[in-house]
């Protein structure tokens, strides 16, 4: 059953905490609007932390999408971290899931199988308070974030192809999962 994933796009964050939903929102928008290439996996990892270890271990490359706090940056600003920048960021709490993500990456490292290529893409959040829905600044930046993920994947050799409109609408009737409950499948958004 173990099979290698060439690229894992992993949204992180708690969908019940305002802008912390931006990682999950981005991956659901990506799934809604693009056909993912065969060898990629796109997932909303929530706040599962260490439970995501098998997914990370099975991946050659990982694109994590997350809310990232960044001193001096405006809410909605795009942040990109890679390589050695990631562990300090998750450890120094620039990311809001410091415990889960740090534990996750440490676990992978301890087992000697941390994927060499992890990139963290994110936006600076405005409001992480309890509640469903993104702040206007972050909502406005979502298309940029999704486009950045697509561009990042393309640079790595993975082409996410835009879905035709009718395919988007048919997918809106899919499972009553968290994306539909959060209103991410509404037409035309």
């Amino acid at each position: 059953m173990p099979e290698r994933t060439a690229l894992l796009v992993l949204g992180l964050g708690n969908v019940l905490c305002g802008d912390d939903a931006l990682g999950a929102t981005a991956v659901h928008l990506l799934q809604r609007d693009f056909r993912a290439p065969e060898e990629t996996v796109v997932l909303d990892g929530g706040t599962l932390g260490l439970s995501l270890l098998p997914l990370i271990q099975d991946a050659e490359r990982v694109l994590m999408v997350d809310a990232v706090r960044h001193a001096g940056a405006q809410p909605g600003a795009l942040v990109r971290l890679e390589g050695d920048q990631i562990m300090p960021a998750v450890r120094e709490r620039l990311s809001v899931h410091q415990i889960g993500v740090a534990d996750l990456l440490d676990g992978a490292r301890l087992l000697g199988c941390c994927p060499p290529n992890i990139t963290l893409l994110g936006l600076v959040p405005e409001d992480l308070g309890l509640g469903v829905g993104l702040s206007p600044a972050v909502e406005r930046a979502m298309p940029t974030l999704v486009a950045t993920i697509v561009a990042e994947a393309r640079a790595l050799g993975f082409e996410f192809v835009p879905r035709p409109y009718d395919e988007k609408s048919s997918r809106m009737d899919d499972a009553r999962d968290v994306a539909s409950v959060l209103g991410l499948w509404r037409p035309g958004c």
């Binding site: 059953m1 964050g13 708690n14 969908v15 019940l16 905490c17 912390d20 996996v41 997932l43 909303d44 990892g45 929530g46 706040t47 599962l48 932390g49 260490l50 439970s51 995501l52 270890l53 098998p54 997914l55 271990q57 562990m87 709490r93 809001v96 899931h97 410091q98 415990i99 889960g100 740090a102 534990d103 440490d106 676990g107 490292r109 301890l110 087992l111 000697g112 992480l128 309890l130 509640g131 469903v132 499972a175 009553r176 999962d177 968290v178 409950v181």
Partner: protein, 569 residues
């Protein structure tokens, strides 16, 4: 130790803060506070009850399935849906898998390093470690070469200066008692448990879809099709795969986890007399074995008061209520009375200090957790409560047998169960009981398939027009951490009120209106503290409850001056 300020906005389930007064080398008084507001109740008001589980599943990153289970049970109870046998069996398998997975992870990754000294492990002799491991179990990964490799890997990890999960610990603390070889063996098993988790968690993909959040729950049953003739359903191939995963988990629990618990416990028998707590235990019962309205539970429900195992009372749902006298909420009728969850209110009123702060005013409100009580008694919930209720009932027989065997091996009486050590042992015993039982559920699923019973859902109540205009439901579940209840009030098809009473609220809640401490608070009283600036002993007891959160521990000396502030994960 680093001085770390507790961050109040961590997304992982919220912080726990313990304040303890140390006097004459032991804890005189302790207060438990959750510093994060949980307001799922507010988010759910007005929404479709059939969607509630999708939201509750996201309350906590560690216990996703458990809030989904409690939620669908509550809504089914309210609207009168009756899930068919396959749904019950699939849910039992999911609940069992979560229990086995969480317990193993809890011991090795959240608890073991309170008892196992990593630094001492670095000086262990691999050959002696191999002899020790081979004397305890016939688990194959126990050779000298293997332990040499583990020791070298650890040395690299530690010398790299990136301690990761091993940072913020009290290496070399005098309360560590294991010889270096036992420490190295335990650390090796810490690494093997990561690998165990990686394999076993694939059971979720089979039962709940590829997404790491299970998608297969449904009010009325499950959304996982059962059909031996379909590639995209649970079929004979799936059954074979389930058999394999469960057999391998059983192997790990039988040959690594349980032997490790016995080996470690034998060095810490004094902890069989520390950390007892309130002495009252509650279990809602779990793993329904039939499809009647009041099914027999494989792990029975029950109530034990004052440690009296000869009298296990029945669980009566209407005896559950919650106080907010010391919680940052208001009740519209005043804070001197408790409210049952169906009439529960979630009106936040934060009166605590602005973070970062030195200490809480524990004479007033001091926690975001309410104080749940059963017939006005504080109750401990969790694996120890479930195993004590099983022990008192004498069923399941396997639980009683394993408890007796463990007590005999360690040479202690049943009184040692009421302790920090008892809590840790009960968790391992429960894991063994459940991983064995999972095989029966897989077999039952296969038998239903052979009989061509493919029903997975009762759709008769899906349409809200079939519901009463107003209805109420309670969903009870024994999550790995303990008793979880969701209460829902539905009005004209929408959620009018929703209340969750979670295991950590039972265990970590503050004092009630009568001043009675909650289980964490009580369990810490009398705990010996060797070094007040390194309160390892407090962590041992708090971690034995399996708190589902990062834990900020604050220790005060008897003048209530703060000595140290540490973060422990």
């Amino acid at each position: 130790m680093p001085h770390v300020v507790v961050d109040p906005i961590t997304r992982i389930e919220g912080h726990l803060r313990i304040e303890a007064e140390i006097d004459g080398g032991s804890v005189r008084n302790a207060w438990s506070s959750s510093t994060m507001f949980r307001g799922i109740e507010i988010i759910l008001k007005g929404r479709d009850p059939r969607d509630a589980w999708v939201f509750t599943q996201r309350i906590c990153g560690v216990c996703t399935t458990v809030h989904a289970i409690a939620s669908i049970r509550a809504v089914e109870h309210a609207i009168g849906a009756n899930p068919p046998p396959n749904a019950r069996i699939l849910r039992n398998l999911i609940i069992g898998a979560q229990c086995v997975h969480d317990h193993v992870i809890h011991f090795y990754h959240l608890q073991a390093l309170d008892w196992v000294d990593l630094v001492s492990a670095l000086s262990a002799d691999p050959a002696k470690t191999a002899s020790l491991a081979q004397s305890l179990s016939d688990w194959p990964l126990s050779g000298r070469a293997y332990f040499t490799d583990v020791r070298n890997r650890l040395k690299d990890f530690v010398s790299g200066g990136r301690l990761g999960p091993f940072a913020n610990a009290y290496w070399g603390h005098p309360a560590y008692k294991l010889p270096p070889e036992a420490n190295l063996m335990a650390v090796a098993h810490y690494l093997q448990a990561l690998d165990f988790q990686r394999q076993f968690i694939r059971i979720h993909a089979i039962l709940g879809g590829k997404n790491p959040h299970l998608q297969s729950f449904l009010v009325g049953g499950m959304a996982t099709p059962v059909d031996p003739d379909s590639q995209n359903a649970l079929n004979l191939g799936t059954i074979a795969e389930l058999n394999k995963l469960v057999a391998s988990a059983r192997d790990f629990v039988t040959r690594v986890y349980l032997p490790d618990i016995l080996a470690v416990a034998s060095f810490y028998k004094d902890w069989g007399g520390i950390g007892a707590g309130v002495g009252n235990y509650l279990s809602y019962g779990e793993y329904p074995e039939d499809d009647s309205p009041n099914p027999t539970m494989y792990l029975p429900a029950g109530v034990i008061l004052n440690r009296d195992l000869t009298k296990v009372g029945p669980f009566q749902p209407d005896k559950v209520s919650e106080y907010v006298k010391h919680s940052w909420y208001d009740y519209t009728g005043g804070d001197d009375h408790s409210l049952p969850p169906f009439k529960g209110e979630t009106l936040p009123n934060y009166t605590g200090p602005n973070p970062p702060y030195e200490r809480l005013n524990v004479a007033e409100k001091y926690s975001w957790l309410k104080s749940p009580r059963y017939n006005d008694n504080p109750m401990e919930v969790g694996p120890l409560a479930r195993m004590l209720v099983a022990y008192g009932h004498g069923r399941p027989a396997r639980a009683k047998e394993l408890i007796d065997k463990t007590l005999k091996t360690l040479g202690v009486g049943p009184g040692a169960l009421f302790s920090t050590l008892g809590r840790i042992a009960a968790r391992a015993i429960e894991t063994q009981v459940i991983v064995e039982k999972m095989q029966d559920w897989i077999n039952a699923l296969a038998e239903n398939m052979a009989r061509r019973d493919y029903r997975i859902c009762d759709n008769s109540k899906w349409d809200p027009s079939t519901w009463p205009a107003e209805c109420w439901g309670a969903g009870f579940h024994e999550a790995p951490r303990g008793s979880l209840g969701h209460w829902v009030h539905i009005n004209n098809g929408a959620i009018a009120n929703y209340q969750c009473v979670v295991p950590s609220t039972w265990n970590a809640g503050p004092r009630d209106v009568a001043g009675h401490p909650g289980p964490y608070e009580q369990s810490l009283v009398g705990t010996p503290i060797a070094k007040p600036d390194q309160p390892l002993e407090i962590l041992r007891t708090v971690h034995s409850f399996d708190p589902c959160m990062a834990c900020g521990v604050h220790v005060l000396d008897n003048e209530r001056r703060e000595i140290v502030k540490v973060r422990a994960v």
